[in-house]
Amino acid sequence: MAKDMTLLWAAGSPSCWRVMIALEEKNLQGYKSKQLSFEKGEHKLKEVTDINPRGQLPAFKHGNIVLNESYGACLYLEDQFKSQGNKLIPDNKAESALMYQRMFEGLTLFQKIAQVLFYNLFVPENERHDSAVKRNKDGLKAEVKLWEGYLQGTGPYLAGKNFSLADVSVFPLIALVFRFGLSVEHYPKLAAYYNTLKDRPSIKTTWPPNWKDTPGQDALKDF
């Protein structure tokens, strides 16, 4: 039950956000929730490493069970709580196939986002190159265009008619790119997807607290 669950998380982290969305979707509100700060290095605190030796967030526990990998946590929650809340894996074979495909493509999308938005965080100064920055930007732009195309072919959700784990996994990434200035005019399908989902209760309730009252950035506005 939710009261036996604990989640350590950081605001804006897609990995954390997707677990929070899954918990809401499965009616597992009431879990112990603690917000930590990456900027203050709190992800390296003992309280985190006791649960996640990798010193990463999310750190998630259900009783004595530990599941820090966000995709793992989402799959586990859907399996263990199949009969409550919303169904997150479609019964329809074709829809479930598309769900798994898009869900795991989400890992590629995140990698390409990180290579652009967190370049300076991951690459020490003496190893940075304009050629890499350009290549990463081109790579992310091509990736975002791919997802715009996916939503031209299917909708309103990533796997078709039903909200699924594909949306739980990927919506936080779409929200992130718009937060960083992606153009609504250039990506109308992604913008429509974003608008459809931003008011979904599980998403609205778990919206990153620091995003509500502060403006985003514009790193991606020229895409």
Partner: protein, 221 residues
């Protein structure tokens, strides 16, 4: 079902192991060559616009993401072949955890073994290579600890599961590119326990990418 695949590719291997485990032999398959850039051919792009392998179809359903394909196959064919997702909550959670951590392992392996493919000439740095090696050593030590009690029938999450389907190919890859069995005895034991499992033995890669040039890459780790 049809599978376009490349030899020595852990993602392709995972799907092939799963197909064997679920008794889905007899699928159409075609071996393509990375060296000849066949993964960028029209035949692949029609199924996988990313020009990557594996490219997998089940009827009209396309799943090129290997972990996704494995999960799909286990869910669609739950009642046949071997069970690959445990029912018990604790084992199931551990299985999902290790399965997903397996993707981190292959990423860190690639950064060392295929550094020159990740970083074009002019962007390579000794400091980056050193850091990648250190990160990989830390990662390998984690896996040694995960396999502390490895024994026949007791793998990454108890009985053989999707965690092993995803991770075993990565460990086989590491040893193929020179990892020392003496320094990583638990991983070596895991490797020797599973290398003759029918689904794994049957699908063992005939070759590995640029093996002549890279088979010593990990030997000093």
């Amino acid at each position: 079902m049809s599978l376009l695949w490349g030899a020595g590719s852990p993602p392709c291997w995972r799907v092939m192991i799963t197909l064997e485990e679920k008794k889905l032999q007899g699928y159409k398959h075609k071996l393509l060559s990375f060296e000849k850039e066949e993964h960028k051919s029209q035949e692949v792009l029609e199924i996988n616009p990313r020009g990557q392998l594996p490219a997998f179809k089940h009827g009209d359903n396309i799943i090129n993401e290997s972990t996704g394909a494995c999960l799909y196959l286990e869910n669609q064919f739950k009642s046949q072949g071997n069970k690959l997702i445990p029912d018990s909550p604790a084992e199931q959670a551990l299985m999902y955890q290790r399965m997903m951590e397996g993707l981190t392992l292959i990423e860190k392996l690639n950064l060392v073994v295929f550094y020159d493919l990740v970083a074009p000439e002019g962007e390579r740095h000794d400091s980056a290579e050193k850091r990648n090696r250190e990160n990989l050593v830390a990662e390998l030590q984690l896996w040694e600890s995960y396999l502390g009690n490895v024994a026949a029938g007791s793998y990454l999450a108890g009985a053989f599961s999707l965690a092993d389907v995803v991770v075993f190919p990565n460990i086989a890859y590491a040893f193929r590119y020179g990892l020392s069995a003496e320094r990583y005895p638990k991983m070596a034991k895991y490797y020797s326990l599973l290398k003759d499992r029918p689904s794994i033995k049957t699908t063992w890669p005939q070759q590995w990418y640029q093996i002549a040039q890279r088979s010593e890459t990990l030997k000093d780790l």
